[in-house]
């Protein structure tokens, strides 16, 4: 009886240790602009210094929707190898394309869900457009590392299950006007601790193009 209890306790302990090893620590980043305002839709990525990056799962999937003639979400960070589907939730046609080197592709005029998702197998920033609605712009940030996050409306992101170690931090935002992620320093991740960091990203502006017709600049005499 006593040996069975010890065995059960040992099993629980082993599972707990294994779980702790898998889970690792957490990294919380707050991103602010150079004007000290919190920044939404900033991508934060952690790349281990010297450590190995685990192979991506083959079943990674993500969705970039089109709602009310906008890409939703506006910024979608994914791991390399992710299959992204592009459903069209509007009741009109969209024509999605990208010229970006990381993944040039085109989904000609369609409604509903295209038959096949698009596989993003090269790292980099993929800028999306719609050939019918020129104001529509979306971004898929393809990352080799599995440790990344995107800031919410309070400029905050929490990246979970980060193994302890030293990491290089990279940042990107649509208005940073950078074609790739920019290095933002280093951070040490310690087991069972939440590492909290604040970053500043320089935004060069970039208001969304208005849907309203632009009457300025038309000579109508």
């Amino acid at each position: 009886m006593g040996s069975r209890i010890i065995t059960i306790i040992a099993l629980f302990a082993a599972v707990a240790v294994a779980g702790a090893q898998v889970k690792g620590a957490e990294f919380q980043a707050v991103v602010k602009s150079d004007k000290k305002q919190v920044v939404e839709d900033a991508v934060v990525a952690l790349v281990p210094m010297g450590g190995e990056i685990p192979e991506p799962e083959k079943t990674l999937t993500a969705v970039m929707d089109q709602v009310d003639k906008e890409f939703v979400p506006r910024v979608l960070p994914v791991r390399t190898g992710t299959k992204v589907s592009f459903p069209n939730s509007d009741n009109i046609l969209h024509h999605v394309y990208s010229f970006s080197k990381a993944k040039p592709f085109e989904l000609p005029l369609y409604k509903g869900a295209p038959a096949n998702p698009v596989v993003f197998d090269n790292p980099g920033v993929v800028v999306l457009g719609c050939n019918i609605h020129d104001w529509m712009k979306g971004y898929i940030v393809v990352l080799e590392t599995p440790w990344f996050g995107k800031t919410g409306d309070k400029g905050k992101t929490l990246i979970k299950d980060v193994p302890p170690g030293r990491y290089k931090i990279f940042l990107w935002h649509p208005e940073s006007a950078s074609k790739n992620l920019d290095p933002a320093g280093e951070a040490a991740i310690v087991k069972d601790e939440i590492a909290k960091k604040e970053y500043t990203i320089k935004l060069k502006g970039g208001k969304k193009k208005s849907r309203a017709p632009d009457p300025a600049g038309v000579i109508n005499y």
């Binding site: 970039g206 969304k208 208005s210 009457p215 600049g217 000579i219």
Partner: protein, 278 residues
């Protein structure tokens, strides 16, 4: 003849028989602007020139038909109400229809585009000697060269018919080119130049030539006469998006209409807001 061609063009584009649209979407735009016109009377002599401030509310509602990946046709019903601060006799209501064929054969915002447009409108004025109809046909093309710089060119043919007289009838041909500069914050500046040849109804205290169509006009207390002018048009404008569906804009146009040694200068200072409900 020109009017017939414009109506034919309008009919073909408004009722594209035999063409199957892949998709329909709604067009709904509204715009309000205020313009100061330094020479409403289109007079040459400074003593005959009258200036006024004009408020205009206009809108269009219709459908856009996506024909294929490159082509779309739009058909709209257009409405405008224009009110003058001083010369109320020129207050007018315009109601009409427009049709346009837009072609962009390439992919992305930098692909060149072509637009052919035709419109017809009924014009009803408070001072009814100006009542009539206006027919317009326009062809324009443009290209964005990068995120910041774009060029467009247009040629517009306009035919105006007054219901009760010949003085306010006439037609004109205008060619123009506009360069646009977009900034990261959404501000867009544009500069344009146009050259127009066509009829203008001008005013003077004494009629210049008995052979011109002429009539006495109470509003400006002067004679109105129609003549063919060459007009140079210079424009500067700025627009700025407020949110995703609204744009505020301001600009000025200087027009120099010439006939022999006489100059008929006109400046328009305009500001307004445009909203899309698409």
């Amino acid at each position: 003849m020109k009017r017939s061609l414009i109506i034919a063009l309008l009919s073909i584009m408004a009722f594209p028989g035999g063409i199957r649209a892949l998709d329909y979407s709604r067009i709904a735009n509204i715009r309000f602007d205020v313009t100061h016109d330094t020479n409403v009377s289109k007079a040459s002599s400074p003593s005959d020139q009258a200036d006024d401030t004009i408020a205009a509310l206009s809108g269009s509602y219709g459908r856009r038909l996506q024909l294929n990946e490159a082509d779309r046709v739009s058909v709209t019903v257009d409405f405008a109400r224009i009110e003058y601060t001083e010369y109320n006799g020129m207050d007018n209501t315009r109601a009409g229809v427009s049709a346009a064929w837009f072609r962009k054969p390439g992919l992305g915002p930098r692909a060149p585009w072509l637009n052919v447009q035709a419109s017809a409108a009924r014009l009803g004025y408070r001072y009814d000697i100006w009542d009539g109809a206006e027919y317009t046909a326009a062809i324009s093309a443009g290209k964005s060269f990068n995120d910041f710089f774009s060029l467009s060119a247009a040629h517009v043919v306009r035919d105006r018919t007054a219901s009760t007289n010949d003085v306010y009838s006439g037609n004109s041909y205008t060619s123009s080119i506009v360069a646009g500069f977009s900034f990261r914050n959404g501000l867009r500046l544009s500069a344009g130049y146009g050259l127009s040849r066509g009829d203008i109804t001008a005013h003077c205290i004494m009629p210049r030539r008995p052979s011109d169509p002429t009539l006495y006009e109470e509003l400006f207390d002067s004679w109105a006469y129609r003549r063919v002018f060459k007009t140079q048009i210079y424009s500067l404008a700025a627009s700025y998006p407020l949110g995703y569906t609204t744009t505020v804009f301001a600009g000025m146009e200087r027009m120099e209409a010439r006939r022999a040694a006489r100059n008929y200068p006109l400046e328009l200072f305009r500001m307004g807001i445009a909203h899309s409900m698409e």
